[in-house]
C-alpha cells in the first residue's frame, strides 16, 4: 500500500500497464516531456520512450483515428484528451468508428482503445475546460464508460480499462486529482460494478466521479441530523450496475441521484427511469435529481451557482423524505 494522489494513481496504473504489455501505447497532446497538463503521464516518456508514449500533433480526431489503426494492428492505445471540452473534434471517430468496428466486422476486429478524459468543473477554469460529456458516450452502443472517485479506483480501473477488449471512455474527475488515498497495486474488483461506500437505511444517494466526495459529505451531514444515508459510487456508467442500486432502493425506498452534467437526458434520467421500473412498489417518493443545469457550463466565477453542492443534495434528501420544501412538487423540466 502506498499513499498517492488520484493523478499519481492513474500515473502508476499507466506505468504498470506499459510495463506489463508492450502492445500498450500512449497517445496525446503534451503527454511527453511536460507529462500532461495535469502531470498524469509524468516520467512515462522518459522511462518507456517516444515510441510508446507519443506526443501527438494537435488534432483530436487524428489521435483517435490513428488509435483505430493501431488497434487494427493489435495495439492497445491509451489516448489522452487534454480536457473534456476538446473531445468533440474526435466525436466522429469515437462514435462512428471506435464504437462500431467490432459490431461492423462481426467481431473480427477489436478496439481495445482507452480514451482518458479529465472531466467536470470546480477548478475555476475558462470555457471548455469543465464539461461533463459522459452521457453522449453512455448513449452510444459499443462504448464502455467508467469514472473513478478514489486513487485506488483510479489505479485499478485504468489498468482494467486498458486490459478490456472493448473501447473504454475513462473519465477522470479533474478537481479530485489532488485527493490522496491508499493504493494497493494488487487489489482487484469487478470493473463494471457499483460500490456501496456508506451503508444507510433511509435514503440512497447515487453519485459518480467528482460528486462522490460531496455525496459522502451530505450523508455525514444528514447523519448528524438523524437520517441514515446510503451512498453508492456508480463507477461504471455503461453498463450501469442497476442491481446494486435496486438492492439499495428496495431497502431505503428513497433515491437521490447527483451529477454535474446537465439534467436533461442525463445519467440521472436513465437511473430514475430504470429504478422506478424495478422498484415501483418500494419507492416512498419520486426519485430526485440534483444536477448541473441545462445550460452551458458557466464562467468560472459563476460555477458555484451551477454545480450541485452539499446544500442542494441535502435539500433533495429532505424532499424524498417527504419534508416539504421549496422544490416539493416541481417535476423537472
Amino acid at each position: 500500500m502506498t499513499e498517492l494522489t488520484l493523478a499519481k494513481a492513474v500515473n502508476s496504473g499507466l506505468r504498470r500497464a506499459l510495463a506489463d504489455d508492450d502492445r500498450v501505447v500512449l497517445l496525446g497532446e503534451d503527454i511527453g516531456p511536460l507529462g500532461g497538463v495535469f502531470r498524469v503521464t509524468d516520467g512515462l516518456q522518459r522511462d518507456f520512450g517516444t515510441d510508446r508514449v507519443m506526443d501527438m500533433p494537435l488534432a483530436e480526431s487524428g489521435i483517435i483515428g490513428m488509435a483505430v489503426g493501431l488497434a487494427y494492428r493489435g495495439f492497445r492505445p491509451v489516448c489522452e484528451i487534454q480536457f473534456d471540452g476538446f473531445i468533440y473534434p474526435a466525436f466522429d471517430q469515437i462514435v462512428a468508428q471506435v464504437a462500431k468496428l467490432h459490431y461492423r466486422t462481426r467481431g473480427a476486429v477489436r478496439m481495445p482503445i482507452t480514451i482518458r478524459v479529465p472531466f467536470g468543473g470546480g477548478i475555476g477554469a475558462v470555457e471548455h475546460h469543465s464539461e461533463s460529456p459522459e452521457a453522449y458516450f453512455a448513449h452510444t452502443a459499443g462504448l464502455r464508460v467508467v469514472t473513478c472517485s478514489t486513487p485506488q479506483d483510479a489505479h485499478t480501473m485504468i489498468r482494467q480499462a486498458i486490459a478490456c477488449d472493448d473501447p473504454v471512455l475513462f473519465f477522470e474527475p479533474k478537481r479530485r486529482y489532488w485527493t490522496k488515498g491508499e493504493v494497493d497495486e494488487d487489489a482487484d474488483f469487478p470493473f463494471d460494478r457499483a460500490r456501496v461506500l456508506l451503508e444507510g437505511a433511509d435514503v440512497t444517494i447515487v453519485a459518480y466521479g467528482p460528486l462522490v466526495a460531496t455525496a459522502i459529505d451530505a450523508a455525514i451531514a444528514a447523519g448528524d441530523e438523524g437520517t441514515s444515508v446510503e451512498v453508492i459510487d456508480l463507477r461504471s456508467l455503461s453498463p450501469l450496475d442497476l442491481d446494486t442500486v435496486e438492492a439499495s432502493v428496495r431497502k431505503t425506498g428513497r433515491l437521490v441521484i447527483t451529477h454535474e452534467a446537465a439534467q436533461f437526458g442525463g445519467l440521472g434520467a436513465e437511473i430514475a427511469a430504470s429504478i422506478t421500473d424495478r422498484c415501483f412498489l418500494y419507492l416512498e417518493a419520486a426519485p430526485a435529481r440534483v444536477t448541473g443545469f441545462d445550460t452551458p457550463y458557466p464562467s468560472a466565477r459563476a460555477e458555484e451557482h451551477f454545480l450541485p453542492d452539499l446544500d442542494r443534495i441535502l435539500d433533495a434528501v429532505d424532499r424524498v423524505l417527504g419534508r416539504q420544501n421549496a422544490l416539493t412538487g416541481w417535476s423537472a423540466s
Binding site: 497532446e29 503534451d30 511527453g32 516531456p33 511536460l34 507529462g35 497538463v37 506526443d55 501527438m56 500533433p57 494537435l58 488534432a59 480526431s61 487524428g62 471540452g85 476538446f86 468533440y88 473534434p89 475555476g124 477554469a125 475558462v126 470555457e127 471548455h128 439534467q263 436533461f264 443545469f293 441545462d294 445550460t295 452551458p296 458557466p298 464562467s299 468560472a300 466565477r301 459563476a302 451557482h305 451551477f306 446544500d311 442542494r312 435539500d315 420544501n325 421549496a326 422544490l327 416541481w330 423537472a332 423540466s333
Partner: protein, 378 residues
C-alpha cells in the same frame, strides 16, 4: 479603434512557394529596403512609427499587468503575448474598421488595437463572463479557445461579405499548433474553393504548449498554403513594419476580390503558454535567449533612436503612458462585478424555452428558500 489604412495597390503575384522571410527592420533596428513591401509602409516613419512603438510598449505593459493580476489571484488564467507584440499590433493596425476578425485566445493586443475596453479584455480571464465584448461593436469575434475552430468561421463570414457585395475582408488568427487541426485545413480548402476574401494569419510562436513546431510541420508552415491554392507570405513576426506591410498586402488582395492569402508570422512565445504552464520542463533556455535578441520592441526603439525620433524624454513619456494604461486596466479589472446566481440561465436560447424557464424558476425558488436571493427576481 486604431487603424492605419493605406491605399497602396500592387498587382504583382505572390510567389509560390513563398520567398525568403520578409523583413524591413532587422533585430538591430536597421531598415532593410524591399522594393515590393516598402510601398506598403511608406506612410510609416518618424512620428507614425513612434505611434506604433507606443502601441507595442503599451500592449506589453498590459500583458505584464495581466500576468501580475493572475499571480495575485485576480485572474483565473492569462495567456501572455510576450514576444508576439509586433505580430499582433502590426497585423491589427493594417485592418480597416469594417474588416472582421476571428482570433484565438492569445490576441489580446489585437483586441486592444480594435478598441476593446480594457476591463472587457479580461472578463473571460477573470471568469466573470464567457466573453468580454460585443463582436459587432468592434468587428472582432470574442476569443476562441477550441483550437482552429475560428478559421472556418472566418471563411463563412468572408463568403457572406462577398454575397452581400461589400469589399470587407476577414482575418483569422491561429497558432502553429492549430495548423494540424482538421478545421484549419478545411478552412483553407473552402477559402480556396470559394475565393473567399480572407487572410489566414498564423503566428508561429514555435510552441503549442510543450510541443515544438517541428511536431506539427516538417516544412515552413507558409509552404502549406500554396498546396491548397492559397498564396502565402512568410514574414518576420517580430518586425512590426514587415508584419504591417505583409498584412496590408494580403488585405489588399481580399478587398480587391483576389481571394485568400496565408501569412506565417515567425515569432516566439517568450513566456509560458499560460500562467498555468511550466516551460522549464521543455524549453531550451538557449533557444529562448536567441529569440530574446530578436525582440520586437528593442529593434523599433533602436531604429527610432538612430533616426533621432525617440529621445530619453519621449521614451520616458511612452513608459508613463503605458503605466497609466496599466493602472486603469487594473482598476477596471478589479471593479468587474461577479455574476449573479441566476445569471447562469441567461442567453442560453434566443427564444423562450419552456424547459429551461421551468428549471430557472425552480432554482429561483430554491435560492429564495435558502436565503441566497434577496429582493425581486433578477
Amino acid at each position: 479603434m486604431r487603424t492605419t489604412v493605406s491605399d497602396t495597390r500592387i498587382e504583382a503575384e505572390l510567389p509560390s512557394p513563398p520567398d525568403e522571410l520578409v523583413q524591413l527592420l532587422d533585430p538591430e533596428g536597421r531598415r532593410i529596403e524591399d522594393p515590393l513591401y516598402d510601398p506598403y509602409v511608406s506612410d510609416v516613419s518618424g512620428e507614425a512609427l513612434l505611434r506604433l512603438y507606443e502601441d507595442l510598449v503599451v500592449v506589453r505593459r498590459i500583458d505584464v499587468e495581466a500576468t501580475a493580476l493572475q499571480r495575485q489571484g485576480q485572474l483565473g488564467l492569462w495567456p501572455p503575448l510576450l514576444g508576439q507584440e509586433a505580430a499582433q499590433v502590426g497585423s491589427a493596425l493594417a485592418l480597416r474598421a469594417d474588416d472582421f476578425i476571428f482570433s484565438s485566445y492569445r490576441e489580446n493586443a489585437v483586441a486592444y488595437c480594435r478598441g476593446v475596453e480594457l476591463p472587457q479584455l479580461v472578463e473571460v480571464w477573470r471568469g466573470t463572463a464567457q466573453s468580454g465584448w460585443n463582436p459587432y461593436a468592434v468587428n472582432m469575434a470574442t476569443p476562441q479557445i477550441v483550437i482552429g475552430a475560428q478559421t472556418l468561421h472566418a471563411v463563412g463570414y468572408a463568403v457572406g461579405c462577398r454575397h452581400d457585395g461589400v469589399d470587407t475582408a476577414t482575418i483569422t488568427y491561429f497558432g502553429d499548433g492549430a495548423t494540424t487541426q482538421g478545421d484549419v485545413n478545411e478552412a483553407m480548402v473552402f477559402a480556396a474553393s470559394f475565393g473567399a476574401p480572407v487572410v489566414f494569419f498564423c503566428q508561429n510562436n514555435q510552441w503549442a504548449i510543450s510541443e515544438p513546431v517541428g511536431l506539427q510541420a516538417q516544412r515552413p508552415i507558409a509552404e502549406r498554403a500554396p498546396g491548397f491554392g492559397i498564396p502565402s507570405i512568410r514574414v518576420d513576426g517580430n518586425d512590426v513594419l514587415a508584419v504591417l506591410a505583409a498584412t496590408r498586402r494580403a488585405l489588399d488582395r481580399a478587398h480587391r476580390g483576389d481571394g485568400p492569402t496565408f501569412i506565417e508570422a515567425v515569432t516566439y512565445r517568450m513566456g509560458p503558454h499560460t500562467t498555468s504552464d511550466d516551460p522549464s520542463r521543455y524549453v531550451d533556455p538557449l533557444q529562448r535567449e536567441e529569440w530574446a535578441a530578436k525582440d520586437p520592441i528593442a529593434r523599433v526603439e533602436a531604429h527610432l533612436r538612430d533616426a533621432g525620433v525617440l529621445t530619453d524624454e519621449t521614451a520616458a513619456s511612452v513608459a508613463a503612458t503605458a503605466d497609466e494604461v496599466a493602472a486603469a486596466f487594473r482598476a477596471g479589472c478589479l471593479a468587474l462585478p461577479n455574476p449573479a446566481p441566476l445569471s447562469v440561465f441567461d442567453h442560453v436560447y434566443a427564444e423562450p424555452h419552456t424547459g429551461l424557464a421551468r428549471q430557472r424558476s425552480q432554482q429561483e425558488a430554491y435560492l429564495r428558500s435558502v436565503g441566497e436571493l434577496e429582493g425581486g427576481a433578477e
